[in-house]
């Protein structure tokens, strides 16, 4: 390594370590203090004693587990069904099914949650009102504000995730394994039980773990649905304890530690499973042929199943959101109501400086987070794949660690770090930028590492031999060649930063409310139509930026 490289990478490692470790350390220290941030106090174990002694802790833990486990199981079942249809059957229209399944990944989490409160609100929810009229019953059939409602919405949110994780399994599992068993005399059922299932087990467990973690660290669903329904989980408890007056941030931090331990355990199990996947390598390359099951006439049944599922997962929520955004006042969708649709809600939005600023700030934060994360992870990925630097694994682990750190934990941790500081970072966009970059470093790395692995080192060596310095090689050969991966990473991070809710809820201030927080506040204060309109606007912005960057992506 040259001196220049040493300086660049030394600085990089320090920055990443600071970003990742400091909030966690601060949270640990905070959970051991007897005073809130910025106040002189003493170390104490009182917060943990309180957590251990309250019966509520057990209830919260149980509720959190039920919520996350059920949601991840349902999401897994639905996502696996769709993945099987798309990858392994001759069901017509699989391209459309694929698109309709994956597109919701780009929508803000808060939107789907908002949409389901509009559909299943016990009093005014569209589905409830319509069913009440149809069946002539007086009580609502569904109440979204319950544990069941939370599980329902969270599972639908995780369907695309489960789908994306299971698709490659179906796509790449070598059918010769199954054929060999079939020729050996095993029936189709036995082939599935003896061969397909065991081979897929690591991927199945990994998918379940990923969706479990996504659910247990979620704040949107517990906030929109759990709190009104008095179905409390760890994440909503941490939020309420921090925001209550007087604040109980010390106990909230203790709860944060518990949540962090759960997610770290789940993610390390997940990383272990996926790290040793070569034992279960299912692609052999040679002799491999993708095989589709001919379902015969049954393929129309699977098509109907998929369409109905996607109708529920994606279309119905989108429609209710559009309807509410253009409705003059809260009302259930009717044909007659169509003539009264208006753009008044959007005009109202633009009259408020708050919403304009929220959208601008979120877009600005999204772009800056994307650029910063991709620059940092491009350098880290290069370091990991191209050098034999000592401590490579340490850097890799550091940059992957945030995957296991819930957004709430980052939020509370950063409060502990920056609230007492004299320099004005708290209550500015800077603290949000720090939170977002910390949270999304792993995503950038996960996209760029494979990109560098696929780039043959000789391409760079050729430039070196031609006389280019290391920096020049990186700029003129490495970067342009992985630009497609960088740009798709940029979109990925942009979308996630734009819609970020869990850490933003702790770190925004009156003047720095970002998109998701603004939408929540509007919804909570009863401005449902404006919240829906804001949601529609965000879809336009996210879709526009995504398309724009896609056009920029060069193809070699």
């Amino acid at each position: 390594m040259s001196a220049g490289q040493r300086i660049v990478f030394g600085a990089l490692v320090l920055v990443v370590a600071y970003l990742v470790l400091v909030p966690i350390a601060a949270l640990v220290l905070g959970s051991l203090r007897d005073q809130p941030p910025g106040f002189p106090g003493a170390f104490t174990l009182r917060n943990f004693a309180e957590v251990v002694h309250t019966p509520r802790t057990l209830v919260l833990l149980r509720q959190s587990f039920i919520f996350a486990a059920t949601a991840s199981l349902i999401a897994f079942a639905l996502g696996t069904f769709l993945a099987w249809i798309v990858e392994r059957t001759n069901t017509p229209g699989t391209n459309l099914i694929f698109l309709a399944t994956v597109l919701p990944l780009y929508a803000p989490t808060v939107l789907l949650t908002l949409a389901w409160t509009l559909l299943l609100n016990p009093n005014s929810g569209a589905i409830n009102v319509i069913l009440k009229q149809l069946l002539g019953s007086t009580s609502p059939l569904f109440n979204i504000y319950s544990m069941g409602g939370m599980v329902w919405v969270r599972s639908l949110l995780d369907v695309p995730l489960a789908f994306l994780w299971m698709s490659p399994i179906f796509r790449t599992m070598d059918v010769q394994y199954e054929e060999a068993a079939h020729v050996c005399g095993a029936s189709r059922t036995r082939v599935f039980l003896d061969i397909t299932l065991p081979l897929a087990t690591p991927a199945v467990v990994a998918t379940l773990l990923i969706t479990f973690v996504a659910a247990i660290e979620d704040l949107a669903v517990p906030l929109f649905i759990g709190i009104p329904g008095k179905a409390f989980v760890l994440s909503s408890e941490i939020f309420l304890a921090t925001m209550s007056v007087p604040s109980n941030i010390n106990v909230a931090s203790a709860y944060g530690i518990i949540l962090l331990l759960v997610t770290i355990a789940a993610m390390s199990l997940y990383l272990r499973l996926t790290a040793h996947s070569e034992r279960f390598v299912t692609v052999t390359g040679k002799g491999y042929r993708a095989k589709q099951t001919d379902l015969g006439l049954f393929k129309y049944a699977t098509l109907v199943g998929a369409v109905v599922l996607l109708f529920v997962v994606a279309l119905v929520p989108t429609l209710i959101l559009l309807w509410t955004a253009f409705a003059p006042f809260s009302q259930i969708p009717t044909l007659g109501g169509l003539t009264k649709l208006t753009i008044k809600n959007f005009l109202d939005l633009f009259r408020l400086s708050m919403t304009k600023r929220a959208l601008m700030d979120s877009a600005l934060l999204g772009v800056s987070t994307g650029i910063l994360v991709m620059i940092m992870t491009a350098l880290i990925a290069w370091l990991l794949t191209r050098t034999r630097t000592k401590g490579r694994n340490l850097i890799d682990s550091l940059a992957t660690l945030p995957l296991a750190v819930p957004g709430i934990v980052v939020g509370v941790g950063l409060l502990w770090v920056y609230l007492p500081l004299r320099i004005p970072i708290y209550a500015t966009l800077w603290i949000l930028l720090i939170a977002y970059v910390t949270r999304f470093i792993p995503y950038g790395l996960r996209i760029l590492k494979p990109a560098f692995n696929q780039l043959h080192p000789e391409l760079e060596e050729a430039a070196q031999v031609a006389g280019a310095s290391w920096g020049r090689v990186f700029r003129s050969v490495s970067l342009p060649l992985i630009l497609p991966a960088i740009l798709s990473g940029l979109i990925f991070v942009f979308v996630r930063a734009f819609r970020e809710l869990p850490s933003s809820m702790f770190l925004t201030h009156l003047r720095t409310e970002v998109f998701s927080v603004t939408l929540y506040n509007m919804w909570q204060s009863g401005q449902v139509e404006m919240a829906a309109a804001l949601g529609v606007l965000s879809l336009v912005i996210l879709g526009g930026v995504t398309l724009f960057v896609r056009i920029l992506v060069p193809r070699w």
């Binding site: 060999a180 079939h182 020729v183 050996c184 005399g185 029936s187 002799g287």
Partner: protein
């Protein structure tokens, strides 16, 4: 033992349809080692997969051990698990989540063989393929050759009447390939198991088979024993695909008794007469590189004792150990000659080549004889 009648199989792909198998018929006797040989994409693997029941043909009939396993007319299709076959896949397909023993025991276990018997039979088979010491290993710890043996043991453990092999040696390195080839043939002979073997490697096919079916674009162009296909092929496809060949276009000048004379660019070649040879016909004379004798000599072009003598100059040579290849420029073409390496021969030397009329293959001129088949 195996009878295939007018088999048809089409694949629907994005760009349209591919006629992978177009009316293939053949039959295999009990205990025979039968090879489907052809370039990739010729439909040989598809035929094998139809035999296994992994593909369902559109038309034709397949009979195994006197039982119809597929018939379009009678609407019969027996699924693979009911055909009682052994099969070795190209990728071996040994299951990575099972040990060596579990892989081999599997066919017996699904057939509900008693566990005592499973143990002894699987043990015996593992011994047979030389894997007794690795019984409890995970298969992912095995080398390619060992995985190959596991796949083979798994295929024969249930003592099937028919063994199907899909390019089983193509993933091994050259040395191991040769060793496994010998073991495979030995095993097949010892058990007298009827074997269908798919390969694109002509050397492998010649070494292993009792009979070879040469396939091209979905049809069988010729079936015969290795010797006949090499020295006396009927189809130009066979001549081109099996062995190395020098090809000389020519015209039949004269026929007399059992011999014929063909005028070619390298002179008048005397060949063994074939029934369909008449004067004036356009033909291709095919001569294997090893059919020539190469001598360092200044003698001119002509004949010695009725043999054609071709004069030329060595343009290039390759020393291969036991043999050497020489490229001799003569009569406006380059002739490939294979012989014992001779220290005296150098690049640029003038040489002459002689040739035995028995060693010349005469086929109808290219383009006209492509439809020739031998069943």
């Amino acid at each position: 033992m195996i009878k295939v009648e007018k088999l048809e199989k089409t694949f629907v792909i994005r760009q349209g349809k591919v006629n992978a198998v177009r009316g293939v018929s053949f039959s295999i006797d009990r205990g025979q080692f039968f090879t489907l040989l052809g370039p990739s994409g010729c439909g040989k693997t598809t035929v094998l997969r139809c035999l296994a029941g992994l593909e369902r043909p559109e038309a034709g009939e397949i009979e195994i051990s006197g039982k119809t396993v597929y018939s379009q007319v009678k609407r019969v299709f027996v699924p693979p698990n009911k055909r009682e076959l052994g099969m070795v896949f190209q990728s071996y397909a040994v299951w990575p989540h099972m040990t060596v023993y579990q892989n081999v025991a599997y066919p017996l276990r699904v057939r509900k063989v008693r566990e005592m018997e499973v143990k002894s039979r699987a043990g015996r088979t593992l011994e047979l393929v030389g894997l007794s010491s690795l019984t409890n290993r995970s298969v992912s710890q095995l080398s390619g050759g060992q995985q190959q043996r596991v796949a083979l043991a798994r295929a024969i453990v249930s003592e099937p009447q028919v063994l199907l092999l899909d390019e089983p040696l193509s993933n091994l390195d050259a040395k191991l390939r040769e060793q496994m080839r010998a073991e495979l043939r030995e095993l097949q002979q010892a058990f007298g198991i009827t074997t269908v073997y798919v390969t694109h490697d002509q050397e492998e096919a010649l070494a292993l088979s009792d009979r070879i079916a040469v396939m091209e674009s979905g049809i069988i162009v010729e079936v015969g024993d290795p010797w006949t296909l090499y020295v006396d092929p009927v189809s130009p496809v066979t001549a081109k695909f099996i062995g190395l060949s020098n090809r000389f276009p020519g015209v039949v000048r004269e026929t007399s008794g059992t011999m014929a004379e063909v005028q070619t660019g390298i002179g008048i070649v005397r060949v063994k007469r074939r029934r369909d040879l008449t004067g004036g016909a356009s033909v291709t004379v095919i001569i294997r590189p090893e059919s020539f004798s190469i001598l360092l000599d200044e003698a001119g072009r002509g004949t010695i004792n009725g043999q054609l003598v071709i004069s030329g100059r060595i343009e290039n040579m390759q020393f291969l150990g036991g043999v050497a290849d020489y490229w001799v420029a003569a009569g406006g073409t380059k002739i490939r000659v294979r012989s014992h390496p001779k220290a005296s021969l150098r690049r640029g030397d003038s040489v002459h080549l002689t040739l035995d009329p028995q060693d010349c293959i005469v086929l109808p001129a290219e383009g006209e004889g492509d439809s020739a088949t031998r069943q």
